[in-house]
């Protein structure tokens, strides 16, 4: 027999001024199953809580309804209280008679009626409640980071430094990512590699870190605390255990292809190390370019390798790693300039993108840091930088701002001027967005000290004319059409999610938008979490970011991971779905509906036929408790704890029979 206690809160005058709290308590006292009903000034205050604790003991209450503010406010408070008083916390419900009643109604009788009926509903709900225990899931104290750019490196380092094992998976032959391609970084103009490479080395040598380069995530099974990730180690064809990184193979290799790292401004061999400071510094063979794999002859490298490290028999291998949490740091790509007919479809040789310009600037780059006009090799005198190429351009389907272009365009212009003292730099912009620490000052420097010319407007067309690129655009400030005869044009092309990220998102069951950026769980309050518990985001894979933001998000992701892995087991709210296997007919509508893959297959011996039939089972470690599976279960074998069929039925049922409160 239920013995429910109802505690009506005045919340000072917040509730009492509009709701007749005494009438509510009196009415509640008469509800079936209610053993005790009182009102008090502040239920959440110490005396208020003491009062409830006392009543639970004295009146041997089996359930508690606190009629006060929103459960989103104080439900945890009163559930904790119940626990401390020896009552299962899930026997506590809150009737929201403040936010949903006293604060939004003036009419005392009507507000009081609503309060009474609301209390009645929750009394009925509590009467049908069942005791629930927190779900405990053992946790594997190890993390995986996908992507070896600055975001991944930083996250991995932070995790490893905290004493937790970490595995980093990078698709290319070396970690480092885009940051390794950059020359100097805004707003301080310090050398990118000088600050990045030490981190790369730290990670490579870290006792708690393991790096898979030239590898990709093949499959992800399991769930938060225990992901089972299968990693595909692509065949390197060079045995790194034997390789001494002497470089002879590279020297001798006859096959050359455009270098990804140098953005096609230079070539690399089929057997290659992407860049001098690469980690690992040992080469792999690009089978797409290797003559042996494409034409079936050569094997020169094998002949010359002193260490006998070349193994053409090498195959892709699959490795399974169990980790408790995953950080996705897959970074970004630049959009294809081919989108822009008006800019020559990316076919103008003297028109390059920002990353190519970075390579050109870099001392270790294809030109050794010398700026050249690709067509002639001369030093460019006039350089036009164009911002928002793709970004903020609905006509190209990219409405968003790529966030870093304003800054790097300014940086590029400056660095150009530093190298070519008598050069002229023009920047076409729409707005200047320099909202970072020291950013505005940086742009100002470009204008004041380096005399960079800013033109507000879009470039309408550019085409090649006697060895130069003619750039036509509008200067919307002077209201004039401008035409510039440029030696070199640098396009700040828009940033999108990196290629292949959609597959990965599918494997991890996390969302992404149409531009390939991964979805955070909440844009403001859960910016590094995803909708899959245990999977976090760092860096440009979530949205365009500059290095400082990327590094801080990487740190945030790392701290989330460390928080998650800080205890040997995971404690989750027990408000999850569960299946009555005796009723389940195995149509698995629940499985198709569940956004988390929490429904698994089990076997049940059917009482009627004696056959072993497949039935649905909910993995409480994965279930998020949304209850989407219940309405699609026709026989109602599925139910949701805490919002059970019976509880909701009773709440609705409690409303039959109107109440009229007379003033």
């Amino acid at each position: 027999m239920a013995r429910i206690g109802v505690f009506v809160c005045w919340c000072g005058s917040n509730i009492a001024s509009t709701v007749d709290v005494k009438a509510v308590a009196d009415a509640a006292a008469k509800f079936p199953g209610v053993a005790h009903a009182v009102e008090y000034k502040y239920m959440c205050s110490d005396p208020g809580q003491a009062m409830i604790r006392q009543a639970i003991a004295d009146k041997r209450l089996t359930g508690v309804v606190v009629a006060a503010c929103s459960p989103r406010m104080h439900e945890p408070t009163f559930r904790r209280l119940a626990l401390s008083a020896g009552l299962n916390p899930y026997f506590v419900e809150m009737a929201n008679i403040r936010e949903h009643c006293s604060w939004v109604h003036d009419d005392r009788p009507l507000a009081t009626t609503k309060a009474i009926e609301t209390v009645k509903m929750l009394v009925e709900k509590v009467r049908r409640a069942s005791p629930l225990e927190p779900i405990r899931v053992p946790v594997t104290r190890k993390a995986m980071v996908v992507g070896g750019g600055i975001a991944g490196i930083q996250a991995a380092l932070d995790i490893a430094n905290a004493g937790v094992d970490v595995i980093l998976v990078e698709r290319s032959p070396s970690i480092g990512g885009h940051m390794a391609q950059l020359d100097e970084t805004f707003p301080t103009l310090d050398c990118s590699q000088c600050i990045l490479t030490p981190k790369m080395v730290d990670l490579a040598q870290h006792p708690r870190a393991r790096i898979y380069t030239y590898a990709e995530v093949e499959e992800v099974k399991g769930f938060v605390g225990n992901f089972r990730v299968t990693v595909r180690q692509k065949a390197k064809t060079i045995d790194h255990a034997k390789c001494t990184a002497c470089g002879v193979c590279i020297e001798k290799c006859p096959a050359s292809v455009p270098s990804e790292f140098d953005c096609g401004l230079a070539t690399r061999k089929a057997v290659y190390v992407p860049f001098p400071q690469a980690v690992p510094a040992k080469p792999v063979i690009d089978r797409g370019a290797c003559l042996w794999f494409t034409k079936g002859r050569c094997k020169v490298c094998e002949k010359f390798c002193p260490a006998g490290a070349v193994s053409f028999a090498d195959k892709d291998s699959l490795v399974e790693e169990t980790v408790g949490a995953i950080v996705v740091a897959t970074g970004f790509d630049l959009i294809d300039r081919g989108l822009y007919g008006e800019y020559g479809y990316g076919k103008l040789a003297d028109c390059i993108d920002g990353l190519q310009f970075e390579r050109m600037l870099s001392a270790s780059g294809p030109t050794g840091g010398k700026l050249v006009k690709p067509t002639s090799g001369e030093t460019p005198k006039t350089v036009v930088f164009v911002q928002c190429v793709g970004s903020r351009d609905d006509s190209k389907g990219l409405p968003y701002c790529s966030r870093v272009c304003c800054m790097y365009a300014a940086k590029h212009a400056m660095l150009f001027k530093h190298k070519v003292k008598d050069g002229r730099a023009y920047i076409f912009y729409i707005d200047i967005r320099a909202a970072g620490k020291g950013y505005e000052e940086f742009v100002k420097r470009a204008v004041d000290e380096d005399r960079v010319v800013y033109l507000r407007g879009r470039v309408s067309r550019m085409f090649e004319k006697d060895g130069c690129v003619i750039v036509k655009g509008a200067d919307t400030l002077s209201g004039q059409q401008v035409e510039i005869k440029a030696d070199l044009v640098v396009l700040a092309t828009a940033i999108t999610g990196s290629e292949g990220v959609r597959d990965l998102a599918g494997k991890l069951r996390i969302g992404f938008d149409q531009y390939g950026f991964l979805s955070e769980a909440h844009p403001k309050l859960r910016p590094v979490e995803t909708n899959t518990p245990g999977v976090f985001l760092a860096g440009a894979c979530q949205a365009p970011k500059d290095i400082p933001d990327t590094v801080s998000q990487a740190g945030a992701a790392a701290s989330k991971v460390l928080g998650l892995l800080s205890s040997p087991e995971l404690v989750r709210e027990p408000l999850v779905a569960s299946v009555d296997e005796a009723i389940c007919i195995g149509c698995f509508a629940c499985e198709n509906t569940c956004p988390y893959g929490a429904v698994e297959h089990g076997l049940r011996k059917d009482a009627e036929t004696g056959l072993e039939v497949e039935v649905a089972k909910v993995n409480p470690g994965i279930c998020e408790g949304c209850g989407a599976c219940v309405p699609v279960c026709r026989p109602k074998a599925m139910d949701l704890k805490g919002y059970s069929e019976e509880q909701i039925y009773s709440e609705i049922n409690a409303l039959s029979g109107r109440l009229n409160v007379k003033g």
Binding site: H100, V104, R108, K114, G511, A628, L640, V661, K662
Partner: protein, 154 residues
């Protein structure tokens, strides 16, 4: 006895609509007191049986509040529900219950004002249509009479 006021039963998802209703409170936006709120984790939890039962037990209109598409705390619960609700509205109409008596709204945690407006609108709809007689007429023994109590006067 007072004129019978409309009875609206609302199922609100915990993350958006319920929070939106909370916001209406914290910002003291006034609206009609004829709504009774049932909190559910997600609009995807709302079963057609809930709506049927609500009508059976005297609701003149039912309102389901969920997150805007894309904002669902559970990724796509609201979208799955949307399909059911569309079908349910057809069924209600086909059975002779004005489909306007069943309303669905996307209401975010930031839309306190929208929540207040929704309640008032649905109340007006219910008043325009008048009390839902159908289910009352078949409730038989289960038709519970109205009760009256008076304020404590304190």
């Amino acid at each position: 006895m007072a004129v019978t006021r409309p009875r609206i039963v609302a199922f609100l998802c915990n993350w958006c609509s319920y929070a939106g209703a909370d916001l209406a409170g914290t910002t003291r936006i006034k609206y009609r007191a004829d709504v009774r709120v049932i909190r559910v984790p997600c609009s995807g939890r709302v079963d057609p049986a809930f709506i049927l039962k609500a009508f059976e037990t005297g609701a003149d209109a039912v309102l389901v509040g969920g997150c805007h598409p894309g904002d669902c705390h559970y990724v796509r619960g609201n979208l799955n529900a949307r399909r059911r609700f569309l079908v349910l509205r057809h069924l209600l109409r086909y059975m002779g219950i004005e489909e306007e008596r069943f309303q669905v709204a996307w209401c975010s945690a930031a839309e306190g004002a929208k929540w207040a407006r929704l309640v008032n609108e649905v109340c007006e709809i219910a008043e325009k249509l008048g009390p839902l007689k159908g289910f009352k007429s078949i409730a038989g023994e289960l038709a519970t009479p109205e009760k009256e109590i008076t304020l404590s006067g304190e």
